[in-house]
Amino acid sequence: MTGSKDHDHDHDDESSDTHETAAVDGGTAAYGGPTIRSRPSHLRRNIELIGVALVGVLAAAMIGFIALDWLRRYPGADAFGPLEAVYSATGIDPAAGYLFDQFLIAGEWIDHFLGTEVFQYAFMWRNIATGVLVGVVAPLVGTYLVHRQMALIGETLAHTAFAGVAVGLLFVAVTGWQGSLLYVALVVSVIGALGVQWLTERTNSFGDVPIAIMLTGSFAVGTLLISWGRGFMSIGVDIEEFLFGSLSVVSASGSRLMAALTVGVVAIVAVTYKQLLFITFDEQAARVARLNVSAYNTLLVVMTAVVVVGAMQVLGVILVAGMLVIPVAAASQIAHSFRETLFLSILFGQLSILGGYTFALTQSLPSGGSIIVVAIGIYLAAIAVSDRSGAAISLH
């Protein structure tokens, strides 16, 4: 069990070790170790915190918009039982429809000042809201995925979701069901996630062979289902929009789905942050500490499946994994701690979304590709910055 590999790690800087003698007793030894990345300054930490807080406010506002959009649809939302009670108690008109209209009026003002024709339309807001929420949850889940070296799982689950969309199309065409086919995609994707988890546990690692089989397999099934369905029924959906993402795919129910899953995923990560970190960093030690590693793995994979279905609306099946991976890769280049990685991932994710939308809207190009290109731009900038400050990890 020992042997030649014993010496694989001899590159570790020896000069730092020689100073450890005094440390055992007093803990005050000076370490002449390798060039070490300095601690993040207070200023930088504060900027990050403010950034994350702003993203939080923006996301909350978007969830608020989606909620108003939903509530105003109820006939007589003004007379909605509990709302009516609030009205009679406080005298404040809680009518969702009224607030919703105010939102769009504000949008008209924004359009007026920016010279655009975007923010006055409810469907554009639904899009932007969905995108903003994708920019929060995709990097959030992605931070764990990337460092568990499970990045390909996201890609696989996106393809499973595509099979789900195909099943959903058939289901809607056959049954005349009124609900969003995203719900069908969600169910299929979660089943696919559990399948991936089952396969990888059988093969005892997140090996890429079962993943590759699952990835191509579900895509194959999806294309077969769609072609077969087209033979005898009319499918009134453009498949390309699901493949590459489009500004017109996001429906009211799709944005509601995104809002609900954002609240769910953020809450779950808030509660299980520590456990997910432990299994990501040192799975074996987490097992010894009697964490239910397999349950947390399943949780992570299912959350990924759910996020992927939501994010697929703006990014498309092919590109959705990019949002799970690229902001995290950029953040990992310059972050000093895991917590900072998480914060920066979300910041970079949000910048990619907003930048990508701006680019897509002004150039009339698809949103998915724009967002990913902006994200890669941020990634390259992060590499450049980390080189300049001498932060590259030197092993020599």
């Binding site: 069990m1 020992t2 042997g3 590999k5 014993d6 010496h7 694989d8 790690h9 001899d10 570790d12 800087d13 020896e14 730092s16 070790d17 020689t18 450890e20 003698t21 005094a22 440390a23 055992v24 007793d25 007093g26 803990g27 005050t28 030894a29 370490y31 170790g33 390798p34 070490i36 990345r37 601690r39 460092h147 568990r148 509660v271 299980t272 520590k274 456990q275 970190l277 432990f278 990501t280 960093f281 040192d282 799975e283 074996q284 030690a285 097992r287 010894v288 500490a289 009697r290 964490l291 990992s332 972050a335 000093h336 701690s337 895991f338 917590r339 900072e340 990685t341 990890i393």
Partner: protein, 246 residues
Amino acid sequence: MTSVVDVRNVSFAYGDSLALEEVTLTVENGDFLGLIGPNGSGKTTLLHVMLGLLSPDSGSVRLFDQPIEEFEAGERIGYVSQKATDRGGTMPVTVRECVLMGRFAHVGHGRLNDEDHETVADALETVGIADLADQQMNQLSGGQRQRAYIARALASEADLLALDEPTVGVDAESRDEFYRLLDSLNRSGITIILIEHDIGVVTDRANRIACINTELYHHGDTESFVESEALSEAYGKTGEIVHHHH
């Protein structure tokens, strides 16, 4: 004395190849057990069986007087694995974050409070890396990194420390310091199980020795091991002996 680990007639095979055969041994409270054997002799497998990472094909294991299947008090065990089994090499995690993981089993899904942070600060102080708390794990030298893992075990207030070749790739001087630290922890009452290929280190430090090569060749105090033929018998089957004098 109460037993910390109690292994009875344990056998374990990877497919057709037998790794452990009818191994029986007990680790008592306060022991410093050196677990030695040639390459591929089943040392790590035995340790994993003791910790519940692997289930034996036959035989039984008890941890802290509980059948291992029912053992839930994970915070009582600190585990320092062979180098490079964790993501410390690529993931931006600070030393403090790593040591805080020792508190996770205590707080569950709750929040870490000031006491938890104090415990972590104390643990960092004890192993002598308090000044490295905000460095990243991947910037530490091998010796410093292993100290961080020990600190994690201390932070979890473990009664049992299991180490699987902790000083692979660590230079000689830091290694001596590291073993001196283990000695002082053992004297403060922590039970230690140490896998180590350097037999000199084990006979110098451990008060009990288990020498295995699939079967158990010796289990007893260090003096009787040095006088016995167990070493050459176990190593005679395969491999060579690594023996440095200190």
